[in-house]
Amino acid sequence: MVVYQRGNRRRTILALIVLTAVTLITLDVRGAGPISAVRGGAHDFVNPIAAAFDTVFSPVGDWIDGVTSAASLKDENARLRRRLDAARGQRATARAATAENKELKKLLDLPFVEDANSIAAQLVEGAPSNFEFTVQIGKGESDGVGVDMPVVTGAGLVGCVLEVSRDRATVLLIKDPESGVGVKIEKSGSTGVVKGRGDSNTVRADFVDPKAEVTKGEIVYTSGQQNSPFPAAIPVGTVSKVTNTRGDLQQDILVKPLVDFSRLDYVKVLRPSSGR
């Protein structure tokens, strides 16, 4: 009898827990407002503790990282110096093109990346789960960061702001499967949507016209279409593979992001210009 009662109690407790969890999941999926506020509050509560923890333990982690990667860092340094020299030459050429582009965009009244106010921020944390591809930056609502703002580095597009608490923000990386970015392919001019592929080092460009001639190595930019949080002309990546099967309604295009997500440190959050 006692055994029966214990089993019954167990099942009741489990049923209550499952019911509560399912209710919470449903409310969150449907976008119940208070849940977002609770999340923000939790971030604000834990952030100072996490920051203090980071301050104490990050030098140890950096030291371990430095010791284990000293040899590869030396090679990388030499390689980066060579790339810097090449980039200096390209920069001069790009300046002229940028000036021309700016004038043309003024005429077309399109949003422009350099016109956007930007907020520099440092990465403070990675994703706390294996199943999502986000990073935390050390700037939040109090610094003017808002949801859906694009996040970039000098190399190109990183992602967009997903959630904001007072002093921090969560950035959804373009490699996350839930991320979608409207893009334009350099030469063909055809448009598509770049979707993340999780822990793969490439993202996929969907909805590209099968008739468009896309070649490997082409640069992919944000298209800046209406209602997109991303301004036009932010570099996203380079086309790394094109498979165009006859009869398909779209091409199978893989894009290698220009941003190295494993080495992100500082990023810029772009605030939309007043005209947008």
Binding site: R9, T20, L24, I25, A42, A50, S58, P128, E132, S200
Partner: protein, 178 residues
């Protein structure tokens, strides 16, 4: 359970959240995969305190972790609670003193928790979880979970220990705290 073990467990949940969002998310990854510290703690606590409290502890721990994820709130809570319940139910048949109990339970709990997270997540509309890479992540994470279980189990045992002389446990499974 008296207030002291409850306080210790609450502090452990906070520690899990801080460690998961700092140390493990930043660098302590193996093949790009981090362990699920909250899940391993749930497995360890449930191993010592049984199914009902194990499930309740798993729910609270999962909920705390969920607050820092973009997946729906309650998803980790549900998977942790079910794993906690399962571990609590099967632990009666496990020899507690076995040195392999911690890693085996850690690995099995990690596997079950990962599969539940992906399965329930997919049902809740998180289609991106249904990918081949999820299998790889779950397998690597469960091995990692087994390794950290060596450290987490003694901590969990210390946390639930009652002050000297007090009796604790759940109905029918009482033992004297040392």
């Amino acid at each position: 359970m008296t207030w002291l073990p409850r306080l210790r467990l609450a502090l452990l949940i906070l520690a899990v959240v801080v460690l998961q969002t700092t140390v493990f998310s930043a660098g302590l990854r193996v093949f790009g995969v981090m362990p699920d510290l909250g899940l391993v703690l749930t497995v360890a606590v449930a191993f010592y305190i049984g199914p009902e409290r194990g499930a309740a502890f798993g729910f609270v721990t999962g909920l705390a972790v969920d607050l820092f994820l973009k997946t729906p709130l309650g998803l980790s809570a549900l998977s942790f609670a079910l794993v906690g319940y399962g571990v609590g139910v099967v632990q009666g048949g496990v020899v507690r003193s076995s040195r392999w109990a911690a890693p085996i339970m850690g690995a099995l709990g990690g596997l079950a928790g990962g599969v539940l997270f992906v399965g329930v997540g997919a049902l809740a509309g998180q289609d991106q979880l249904l990918a081949l890479s999820s299998v790889r992540i779950i397998v690597i994470a469960s091995v990692y979970d087994a390794l950290i279980a060596f450290a987490v189990f003694p901590i969990a045992r210390w946390a639930i220990r009652a002050p000297r002389g007090e009796v604790q446990g759940w109905p029918g499974h009482r033992w004297v705290g040392r």
